[in-house]
């Protein structure tokens, strides 16, 4: 197992080097950071001097090598816009994104799985049809539209929930949380639903189709023949066997939730990493963009690893194969 994890870690370094290289190649096309850093009436000489100081005149590969070498020592440079170390900026924005992502993922699971089980078992009930219709909305409407609709209804018209921001936060020293205050929790509701709705419908549909599949198998029929209660059949036999794909998808989706929180964070002005990244793109703040992309790549690699390990816990067959095939 240890060797397996080590191998995966080495692979992840290769992945991150590649992500860094691709990112640097793209940065050449997003515009000149100097134009974003200075006022419009800054003279060409001053601009040229600034370019030189930032090392922007070096060949791309030199900039890349320098960046990766520093990144290996956890030095991500200084943000062009904020003049603060990028590592510090990301660390200060990470809690907001993680809280939002985890709450969204929990929302997606806790609502999606029961809905999926219900619609799987009671295929033709009217409630199932309602769920299926709702899930269509979740899959087909773009995130920003859902967010704006929620703001329109619950903030502008009903005055129930705040339209932007994180509310009151509590500083725990290493972590600034919005989960401990009333306004923080209220502020979390709409962004979490907006971000989690797509995943919720995805999980619901996945659980439903897996349930339909499993309920047709022989061992379920035998279980019924043995006279086991419906409850025992549905939840301990059928649901358990649907969980492998659900865990895979949820794990991978957690990565996408964090990575694609960008849009939700922008709509709700949620002060997380996604918003930081989007503003960095608009201002050609290369140090932030590079660090963010590396971090997201790292998250995906990490999540994949955790999912693989979880397989062995849930499904003994994978364990027998030695896990290498996972």
């Amino acid at each position: 197992m240890a060797g397996y994890i080590l191998r995966r870690l080495v692979q992840s370094i290769v992945v991150m080097l590649a992500v860094g290289l691709i990112a640097f190649m793209m940065f050449r096309y997003i515009g000149d950071p100097v134009n974003q850093m200075v006022g419009v009436d800054t003279t060409p000489e001053q601009r040229a001097a600034l370019r030189e100081r930032l090392g922007l005149n070096d060949p791309m590969i030199v900039q890349y090598a320098r960046y990766m070498w520093n990144a290996a020592q956890f030095k991500f440079g200084t943000s062009y816009q904020f003049k603060e170390p990028v590592a510090q900026l990301i660390a200060s924005r990470l809690p907001a994104t993680l809280e939002l992502s985890i709450v969204s993922a929990l929302f997606a699971l806790l609502v999606g799985v029961p809905m999926g089980v219900y619609t799987g078992i009671n295929r033709n009930s009217w409630l199932s049809k309602v769920f299926m219709t709702v899930s269509l909305v979740g899959i087909s409407l773009p995130t920003f539209l859902i967010g704006i609709l929620l703001i329109f209804v619950f903030s502008v018209h009903l005055h129930l929930l705040p339209s932007f921001g994180r509310g009151q936060v509590v500083d725990l020293g290493f972590w600034r949380t919005g989960l401990l205050t009333g306004s923080g929790l209220k502020a979390l509701i709409m962004p979490a639903i907006t971000l989690g709705l797509f995943q919720m419908t995805l999980i619901m549909r996945l659980v439903r189709s897996e349930m339909l599949e499993v309920l047709r198998t022989d061992y379920i029929k035998f279980a019924r023949a043995r006279g086991l209660s419906r409850r025992a059949i549905n939840f301990s036999h059928a649901l358990k066997n649907t969980l492998i794909p659900v865990i895979t998808i949820t794990g991978l989706q957690l990565g996408s939730i964090i990575a694609f929180a960008i849009i939700t964070e922008t709509v709700f002005q949620w002060p997380g990493m996604g918003l930081l990244f989007l503003q960095a793109v608009q201002n050609v703040d290369i140090p932030i963009m590079a660090a963010y992309l590396l971090l997201i790549a790292f998250l995906f690699v990490l999540i994949n690893l955790v999912v693989d390990i979880l397989y062995t816990v849930v499904d003994p067959r994978v364990r027998v194969d030695g896990g290498a095939s996972a």
Binding site: D32, N35, D41, P44, R47, Q81, F82, K83, S163, G165
Partner: protein, 529 residues
């Protein structure tokens, strides 16, 4: 809903309300961009300088109508044509309790001219700053300069001792890795202090009880949040979560006005939006006319000018939120601007002019346009393209985000444009800024007028500009400016389009002064219960 009192001539809208003000209040306000580094010399940009203007002060300041007033300098005199004497206000203290004196002015002058400063233009390069006594400072110039102090309302005076203690003697630069506190902390003399600052998230201002002047409004605390998304910003205003937003997108102005608890406050901005031509190169690289440059011919430039229906752009594209302009400078900034009139919209005359110039069959050209910089910039370019198509000039529109656009058309991109749209606010609020930046001759590298992207060049205008710079008599100076602008108007150096409107959205409970330079200043705001 209430229509705001709006006085065009003064360039300022003052909202008047009969409701009684609260004793002290917290203002919550949101802007589309973020407040980044707090060093007042790092970024020469309206919003940042405006917010820092609540905290720091210059030797002079500008009032509600942009008139220059004494601030940290009580008075000044020109004792010789090249020697200005400033008498500093006594008893002023910085927020940390340090006294303000002549050393701070000398220090700030050196700092604003140092390498990383983005505000070097606040002082002439060869100025000498001499301390006469603790409260008197002389500025010695190499040649007379009647507008020496015009930009000093945003040249903020910093405390020498504080800067030295906090590693802040140098301007915070992008490549800075030192522990320079000026990026995150402030120590000014102004009406507000910054209580906490999380860049891009939230900034809290608190009233300074020891300010030497009186805060006219009742704002004790200000919570600033950047909200970049237009719809979210408007929703935050409509739902009463913020009291003030800037800007309100043009399409939402009516909605903000219809809401019983909010008002839209609009007025002309100082920025002028205009089109420019490449009249420097011998051939337009993007045109099908080879071997010659049609834009070198003033008749062609005038033809395009007259093909543009500015009223249609105002009504359809800007939804009435623009003021058509005949000059590259706002009428608020030049007394005699009213004597100029736009060349009339006349497509037939335009065709005639093209015919005379030998381009009766028209030609193609690429137009460069930003799509996220000015109000409806891309839509303006599309409208222009369809209008000039009617006289046979076929435009291939290249609209890009500002990062790419400026990278292409400015000096760093080699002025790679044949026809472009640009906006300009003269930071000195004076016409000379236009000659120095937009209309003077330049060479390939931008020596001369660096933002004359098309390289239009007229020696007479340059000569007049030189005289404008050193003429101390206001009437003679205005006459020289008039002459230069007349040549530019007749020769169609550029096509001025309009001054876009600034549009703030505010709660009906909030009274404030909206200044045409778009600075948001808390000291004039009153929030009622």
């Amino acid at each position: 809903m209430r229509i705001m009192g709006l006085s065009l001539a003064a360039g300022v809208a003052v909202a008047v309300s009969a409701i009684s003000p609260a004793d002290s209040a917290t203002l919550r306000w949101a802007f589309q961009g973020q407040l980044n580094a707090l060093d007042p010399y790092t970024l020469n940009e309206t919003f940042t300088l405006g917010q820092l203007g609540n905290v720091y002060e210059g030797l002079t300041r500008r009032g509600p109508d942009l008139e220059i007033e004494p601030a940290l300098a009580e008075s000044w005199e020109i004792i010789e044509p090249t020697r200005w004497r400033f008498h500093l206000r006594q008893g002023v203290k910085f927020h940390n309790g340090n006294d303000f004196n002549a050393d701070d002015v000398v220090f700030s002058a050196e700092r604003v001219q140092s390498q990383n400063s983005d505000l070097k233009t606040r002082l002439p390069g060869d100025v000498k700053v001499e301390k006469v006594d603790d409260h008197t400072v002389d500025f010695v110039l190499s040649q007379p300069n009647p507008i020496l102090h015009y930009e000093w309302d945003t040249w903020y005076i910093m405390d020498k001792e504080w800067s030295e203690e906090n590693g802040a003697t140098e301007v915070v630069s992008a490549s800075d890795r030192s522990d320079n506190r000026a990026a995150f902390e402030t120590n000014g003399t102004g009406p507000y202090t910054i209580d906490s600052h999380e860049p891009g998230v939230r900034t809290v201002f608190k009233a300074n009880p020891d300010w030497w002047d009186e805060i006219e409004g009742n704002i004790e605390e200000v919570v600033f949040t950047p909200i970049s998304q237009d719809s979210t910003r408007v929703a935050a205003l409509l739902s009463g979560e913020v009291d003030l937003v800037d800007p309100v997108p043009v399409q939402d102005v009516a909605r903000v006005e219809q809401n019983p608890n909010t008002d839209a406050l609009t007025g002309p901005e100082l920025r002028t939006i205009f089109l420019g031509f490449n009249s420097m190169d011998d051939e337009l690289s993007s045109s099908d006319i080879k071997g010659e440059n049609p834009f070198k011919d003033a008749r062609v430039r005038k033809a395009l000018y007259q093909a543009i229906d500015i009223e249609a752009i105002k009504q359809k594209v800007m939804r009435g939120m623009s003021e058509p302009s005949a000059l590259l400078i706002s009428p608020l900034l030049y007394d005699r601007a009213g004597e100029f009139e736009r060349h009339a919209y006349d497509p037939e005359a335009a065709m005639q002019l093209l015919e005379e110039a030998g381009y009766g069959d028209g030609f193609t050209v690429t137009m460069d346009c930003p799509n996220d910089r000015y109000v409806n910039d891309e839509a303006i370019c599309q409208a222009v393209a369809s209008m000039v198509a009617k006289i046979g000039v076929r435009i291939d529109l290249n609209a890009q985000p500002k990062a790419q656009y400026f990278g292409k058309v400015l000096a760093t991109g080699g002025y790679d444009t044949d026809f472009y749209l640009l906006g300009w606010t003269p930071s000195s609020m004076d016409s000379y800024n236009i000659f120095a930046n937009l209309s003077g001759c330049r060479d390939e590298t931008g020596k001369g007028s660096p933002f004359n992207l098309g390289g239009w060049c007229n020696e007479k205008v340059d000569e007049l500009a030189g005289q404008v710079l050193t003429e101390n008599d206001p009437d003679k100076r205005n006459e020289l400016i008039f002459e230069a602008f007349s040549i530019m108007h007749d020769e169609v150096s550029h096509i001025p389009l309009h001054q876009q409107s600034l549009a703030w959205g505010k709660s009906t409970k909030l009274d404030l002064v909206q200044r045409a330079d778009n600075q948001v200043l808390f000291k004039w705001m009153t929030l009622s219960e």
